[in-house]
Each structure stands twice: as structure tokens, then as C-alpha cells.
Symmetry: C3
Subunit: 368 residues, 3 copies
């Protein structure tokens, strides 16, 4: 599974500046061969500085080139120009950290196989695989599956009947997509993730003729699906359950970390971050640009607004309006929560203080 290959090649600073739409200050024909942190980079490496405050590091660096923010230039122009002649070349870009990610793409391109549909894969009736897609040995596609172009389905991954998957997707090994679910373009699903398992829905069934007989949990068939929109990434062993009747939805650009649980009927907005081991209970709606930190849990049937941040291990028991940050279990406004949490460890001294005040009061009361 070629997630990443070893560095493929070398590039001139001119090529790199062009690729990053950056402005080069230094020799365009200088070659660099790898990307390394600024403290470790040597003369054949390129590195980056995300924040102007770290700029002094640049003058000590032995790197062949440094990516820096365009905003830096007017601030320290002459010094920088002098520097670029003596030390590392500089490439000015709008967002150095983004440029760093793009550099990694350049130096570590994902090496894709080109065998098409392996004879050791199983492909059901009426299924179609787009141009340039690879279906690895041991992958299974059910009936009437649609796979777009340039998509990779790795070994052991199982795609149920009537599933549609877009183009430029990667489904790593041992993923399961249940029947009828739909994935957009450029979706990445990491190993072991499960999309579209049954929601946890039961109705308590009693036997009125025999009240002594146990109540049993009678399964409610889960006949909805999961829709995963474009540019979503789902982490290893995460689970997203199918809706009871309609659609569980993961909005465009949202990133889901390992071992996260999204329950049935949830509507997750766009460009969110759901960090590892977070859990969202059924029928909860989440807005856009929401961050849910690790191990946080949300009850069902609530609404989380846009641009909300939920702290790690928070237990969210009610809806949260747009823009708020919440912490704690049960969770409330982060500012107040931080103050309360900071006092928690002082409870023993508060109790002692209460006892002391009581004694002093008793003394005064006796004296009065």
C-alpha cells in the first residue's frame, strides 16, 4: 500500500518557487533534495518558517532554502535580501505552512499502482470501475457498485451493493462500506473504518399477555444510508452509522480522526474536525467549521452551531449556539468552565474554611 514513497527526486529552487507560486530570492538553479525541519536542514534541504517571530532562526539555518511568509518581506526587506545572498535562499509565499504541505506532496508523491482491477478482487454484477482506478487483490465490490476514476480500493476492503464512490478516492485496507452508501470525490477512508453499519435503534417490546416476561429490545431496521461528501477524510477504525430512515451526512471537507463514532441520523457540517475517540449520539446536527476535541461526547438530538469548539473529554448535553467554546462534563461556556475547573482541586481547603468560619461564628454568637 504505497501511502508514501521514499523521496523521488530533486528540484531546483526555480521549479519549487513556480510550483508554490512563490517569489524566489536566491539562485534559481540551486538543487534541493528533501524537506526537513529548520533546525535539522542542511544545504541540500528546503525548510519553512511559519511565523515571522521565528525569523531569527533563518539567519542561523544551514538550509538550502527557506519558505517564508510574503508578509515578512516589507518588515525586514533589506536584511533579508542581504541574508539571501549569504545564506539560505528565501521563497516568499502567502501561507508557508500550506506551502510546506505542498512541498511534501512534491517530494513524497503517492506512488499509485496501475494494474486496474486485480483478478484476485471480486466484482459483483452490474458494477463499474472508472479509468485509472485500482481494485486490489482481496477487495470485494458487491453488485451495482459505481467507482469513479483514479480511485484505489485496497485489499480486504468490502464495498456493499449499490454503493457509489467518486473519483480520486482512497479506501485503505479492511474498510467496510455497507450497502447503498455514497461517497464523493477525493474521499480518504483509512483502514478498518466502517461506513453504514446499522444505527443503534431498538424499541422495547413487551408481551401484554405475560407482563412477567422480559422486555426485549426489538430491532428497528435501519433502512437509511450514509452520504460522505467531497474531500472528507475518515480515520482508522472510525464508524459512521447509516440513518434509520433517511441519511447520515458528513459535510464537505470535514476530517474525522481514528476511532470516532458518528451515530445514525447525524448531520455533520462542512470543514469540521472530529478528533480521535469523540462520539456523536444519534440525530445530532453539527454546523460548519466545528471542532470537537478528543474523547468528547455529545448526546443525541441536539444542535451544535457553526464555528463551535468543544473541548477534549467534554460531555455536551444540550445545544450550543454559533461560535461558542464549551468545556467540561456536563459542558458549559469555556471561560467559566476553566475558572471552575481551576478551583476544583481546592475543594478540601474550602471545606476547611467553611468549618473555620463556622467555629469563629459560634464563638461570636456565644459572646454576643
Amino acid at each position: 500500500m504505497g501511502a508514501m514513497s521514499a523521496p523521488a527526486s530533486q528540484f531546483t529552487l526555480g521549479e519549487i518557487a513556480e510550483r508554490l507560486k512563490g517569489e524566489l530570492l536566491g539562485p534559481a538553479d540551486r538543487l534541493v533534495k528533501s524537506v526537513r525541519p529548520i533546525t535539522a536542514a542542511g544545504s541540500e534541504d528546503i525548510t519553512f518558517l511559519d511565523q515571522p517571530k521565528y525569523l531569527p532562526l533563518a539567519s542561523q539555518s544551514k538550509a538550502g532554502a527557506i519558505i517564508v511568509s510574503r508578509a515578512t518581506r516589507p518588515l525586514e526587506g533589506p536584511a533579508l535580501e542581504r541574508h539571501a545572498l549569504e545564506g539560505p535562499a528565501l521563497i516568499f509565499v502567502d501561507q508557508p505552512y500550506v506551502a510546506f504541505a505542498q512541498l511534501l506532496e512534491l517530494f513524497f508523491p503517492r506512488r499509485r499502482a496501475g494494474f486496474g482491477v486485480s483478478p484476485q478482487a471480486t466484482v459483483g454484477e452490474g458494477s463499474a470501475v472508472g479509468a485509472g482506478s485500482n481494485i486490489y487483490p482481496g477487495a470485494y465490490l458487491g453488485n451495482r457498485v459505481r467507482i469513479g476514476d483514479e480511485t484505489d480500493i485496497f485489499p480486504g476492503t468490502c464495498v456493499g451493493d449499490d454503493v457509489a464512490i467518486g473519483s480520486h478516492c482512497v479506501l485503505y485496507p479492511n474498510v467496510t462500506i455497507y450497502q447503498g452508501c455514497r461517497l464523493g470525490d477525493r474521499v480518504i477512508i483509512h483502514a478498518g473504518a466502517v461506513i453504514g453499519a446499522d444505527g443503534f435503534g431498538y424499541v422495547q417490546k413487551q408481551n401484554p399477555d405475560n407482563p412477567g416476561e422480559p422486555v426485549v429490545h426489538y430491532k428497528i431496521p435501519q433502512v437509511g444510508i450514509v452520504v460522505i461528501e467531497d474531500d472528507v477524510e475518515v480515520g482508522a477504525n472510525a464508524t459512521v452509522d447509516r440513518a434509520a430512515l433517511e441519511v447520515t451526512r458528513i459535510g464537505r471537507g470535514t476530517k474525522i480522526d481514528n476511532l470516532v463514532m458518528v451515530a445514525h441520523n447525524c448531520q455533520i457540517g462542512c470543514h469540521g474536525l472530529l478528533v480521535s475517540q469523540a462520539g456523536i449520539s444519534g440525530s445530532t446536527t453539527i454546523g460548519n467549521y466545528v471542532t470537537i476535541a478528543g474523547q468528547a461526547g455529545l448526546v443525541g438530538h441536539i444542535r451544535i452551531g457553526d464555528r463551535v469548539t468543544i473541548g477534549a473529554q467534554a460531555g455536551v448535553t444540550k445545544s450550543v449556539p454559533d461560535g461558542q467554546t464549551v468545556l467540561g462534563s456536563p459542558a458549559f461556556d469555556a471561560g467559566r468552565a476553566r475558572r471552575a475547573l481551576a478551583l476544583f482541586e481546592h475543594l478540601p481547603e474550602y471545606r476547611r474554611k467553611l468549618e473555620e468560619l463556622d467555629r469563629r461564628l459560634q464563638k461570636l454568637e456565644r459572646e454576643n
Copy 2:
């Protein structure tokens, strides 16, 4: 993987009433084609009303038929009878929500394949597969495995040596059942779940000849098994570990959600609900009809009584008697826990109050 198919067909209200053992008020030959929520249902849909208090919705509904509680009839008999002539037909049943689940089974039958044992499956020596069972391509059965009738083993699922699985079970893709475990009838295991991995058991081994040498965690072989009784459902990527020596048991009718962890030697009673990401430590015993909410954790070697409810994110550190509800971490009685949790955010003002009382007391003390 045909979890659910598209609606197969249409039914007359007479057929439906007979299937649900309900009483029909309205035209027996009226056809309905799907099941929808009451607010969305049209003249070719059937819907349901779970609680009598929502009955006013019935008179505004455009549904072809509504499932209502038999208990409703004497309350509003004449009005209902008039209504059934003009609007939706009514079908009286004992438990409308159960009837709704049964309607979904009727309209969305699980479409089972009928190919038997795929030639692309692996079946070990001495294994036997019952009538009507399907072993999908890429599934693996070890040696001496027993599979009952009408059971489906999906692709990528691996069943170890000497495992016994009952009839009418479904093992979704990429499930692993370790050697020697036993599953009853009508058991559903969702994708990626792991039954029977080794319990987390080690003994600290020291080298008395060399006290400076590190203590190592020496593995205790886990030679027990897991027994999963009839009608249990296990969620995606959940894990139930094999016992050290004897049996880890999941009692009849208990439902386990995604990403739940049940450790070695646990004895889980019947008809329980273990909600997503809950974790039960080793050798803990859980009674019948117990609900453990999401992300709750239980320490090992404790006993949870019958009909106990454990709140979300609770941390249960000691045994809980029958019928109790507990909350918090560490968990205690829910009523008291709710009162304490509600005060938590006021800690800063209590501290200020303490300081204020102290100042006022000092003033009095000076004056006395």
C-alpha cells in the same frame, strides 16, 4: 452486502393489519407502498403514532393509513371512526412503535443471496455449514467450524478454529471470531468487530538475580473463550475479549453499540444496552436489563445489579445495587450527582462568598 434493499413492493391495508395482528378501521383493499414519518406521509404511505398525545396529528395527516395504539380506541372511539372514513385508515395495535419496526421489515426485507459457500471462500477441514447459509468470497472459516442454517458470513470475515455459530446469524464484513468462541442464534455482528482476542493479562516478572533489570510484563496465556448468547447484536469495531481461563459471556438479547470494549472474564446479563465507546474492565459482572450509556467506563471486579442505569461518561469505581442510576466520574447516585454537577460551575462564586464571609467575620471580630 444487502443490509437493506429498496422497498420491494406494495401491500393492502388488510394484509398489513393481519401481519401486525392489528384491527383495521378503513378500506382493507387500499394499497400502500412505503413507510414514512407522519409529517411527510402521503396517500400511498403508511405511518405510525407512538403516543396518544400526538393523536391530533392524525387528523391533519395525508397518510394512507396510520398505526395507532389499541389503548387509544376507547378514549376517542367515535371521533376516530368518523375520521377513518374521511382520512387515513387506522390500524390499532398493542405497541405502535413495535409495529413500525415490523412494517420496516415488511417493506425493506433483507435481501439474502443464495449461493451457499462461495468458491472464493476458504473453509477448513472438518467444518460444516448449515442449509441456506452463505459464505461470501474472501470469508475464511478455520478447521472444525460449525455454522447453523440461514447464516451469512460476509467477505473478509475470519472465523477461527473450533468456533460454533448458530442459525439466522449475520457476520458483516471484516469481523474476526477467534478460535473456540461460541455464538447463539440470530446473532448480528457488525463490520470490524473482534470477538475473542486475548484479554489484557500480564504478570510482572522480575529477575531476582539482577534487581536492576527491568520488570517486564509477562503474558498470561488467555485460554478461555467468549460465549455470545441468542439475539445479541454487536456494533462495528466493538471488541469482546476471551476469558483468561473460563468464559466471557454476553447474555441473551443484549445489544452492544460500536467501539464498545468488554474485557476478559466479564459476565454481561440479558437484555442490556451497552452504548457506543463504553468500556467494561475485566471480571466485572453486569446484571439483566442494564443500560450503560456512551463513553462510560467501569473498573474491574465489581458487580452491577439488575436494572441499573449508568450515565454517559460515568466512571464506575464500585459495585452498584439493583435498580440504581448512577452518574459522574467517580459515579454515584444520579439524583445527588445531578445536584452536585449543577453547582460545579458556581465554584468561583462560592469561593468569593467564602472570602466575603471571612472579611465580614474579621470585621465583627475586631469590633467585639
Copy 3:
């Protein structure tokens, strides 16, 4: 999957004493056939007593033999010698619990298949499998994979390109090892675990030409690997992410339970215990001999010292020095945390006490 087989055979006490390097007091030719708890053991069973305080149980036991601590002998020598003539034989060892684990290995040997590389496995170009290793049907090895001797790769397990795995390892079914990762010797990976998925790394990308356009999470390629050292065990459905640039490392002898999450760039020391559902955020460093209890969470970029213990459900927000025990969320020193947690449920009475003191003060203030 022969995790454990049924008891294979019987052994004389002489054979057992020799194997355990123990000293036998009793008949060397007595046969025992199984290992059972002391309360259940019969004359053909062998059992053990871990702690001298339980020694009185020995005199009532019907076991064929009991493993006891060598330290016991001088304490109760004559009584024991008399006992061993009348009742169970005694075998004195340094660490009875370790001897118990070794007895289980003896009576329940892991029965390994001996077929080598199955023709139904897929093995890529340039890959090499050592002597005595088994690659099961449906397992997948990518290109340039190295597998040592006597290692088992179970069905459905997928090993990416350029992975190196040592000798005497077991990879249970449906495990995924991503490209380039390295596993030492005697490593056990349980079913469904995922080693080397991409770390959760994104940079917020803005479009400066169009500030109204949404910020998107731009993926930072994760080009590092995971290194798992000798004697590590990883539980079912646990996940260990590959580093962004360098190495995520699990130190020698560390044991990881089911559903644990280790994020990218973490450095986990040797001989640690990470209990089920614990989560370690990115770039955190953990020392040696650390225990992290169930469902605990650690933020990123902190350092946990050697011999630290982190309590269940703790939320660790800052570095912890060597040897400390922490509890709570946010976590602090366990002694203080226990005192504060014990007072938590009394918050309502403290509030009432505050109100009472206020009233009594007001009364005094009025009277003064």
C-alpha cells in the same frame, strides 16, 4: 486461528518442577492434566498460590499440586513438609504467578499451522518470508516486505509495501500495517488493529483573494513511519498513526490494549501499559514503565516521565514528572485529586452551609 488449543497432554510433577526451575516437595511421578483455580482444582489438576497470606487455602485444597513461593518455605517449613505428604504436592518457585503463566503455556501450547505461504495469500514482488512462517489464505503482503522466521500472518491481514516484520510475531486477522512500518521480534498484533495510518495533520488554508471563501483543512502528507519494538502487544482495533516526518515509536515490551489510540509522532517508552480506550495526542512523549489506565486522554506535545501512573478517565493537560500518579480531568496529583473528588458530592451541603453562615453573620451584624 489457533490462538489456544485444548489441553494437549499430561505432565508429571517432576517434569513440571524442572520446567519451572522449581523445587518439588511430593511425588515426582504424580500426573496432572490441567491448570485450575485453587478452589476448583482436583487431584489431577495443578494450581498456584500467589501470596503467602492465602497459604491456609493450601491445606484445604484437593489439588494434585500447588505452586507456592520459595519465600514461603522458611516461614512454615515443617508444617508444609508434613502437608505435602498428606495433601497436594508443593512446588516452590520464585514467582508463583509467573510460574502459573508458564504452566498455561505448557498445558495450552499455541498450535501453529505449518503450511508456509498459502497459495491463496498474495505476496508482492521482492518480498521474503522467513523459515517456519505461515501466511494464511487471504493475507496480503505488498512489495519488498520482509517477514522473519516463525511468524504468523492470519487471513485478511494486509501488510503494505516495504514493511519489515521480525521473527516469532503474530498478526491476527484483519490487521493493517501501512507502507514502510517496522515491527520487531515477538510482536503480537490483535485483529483489526491499524498500524501506520496517516496522522491527523492539516493546515488551515485560506484564500487571501477571497476572504469570504471557507477556510479548508489542507492535508499535510504524513511521510513518516511507525516503529514497534520487540515484545510489544497491540490490542484489537487499536490504532497507532505514522509520524508526519519521522517516527512514531512504541518501546520494547509495552502492552497496548484494545481500542487505544496513539497519535502521530508519539514516543512511547518501554514496558508500559496502555489500557483500553486510552488516547495519546500527537507528539507526546511517554517514559518507561508508565501505566495509562482506561479511557484516559493526554493532550499533545507533553512529556510523561518514567514510572508515571495515569488514572482511568484522566485528562492530562500538562507534563508529568517521573514517578507521579495523577487523576481527574484535568488531571493532577492523585492524593489531592482523591480528596477533592471525595468532596464533590457534598457540594450541595457546602452551598447550604454558605447560606447558613451568611444568615448567621447578618444576624450578628444587625445586632452589633
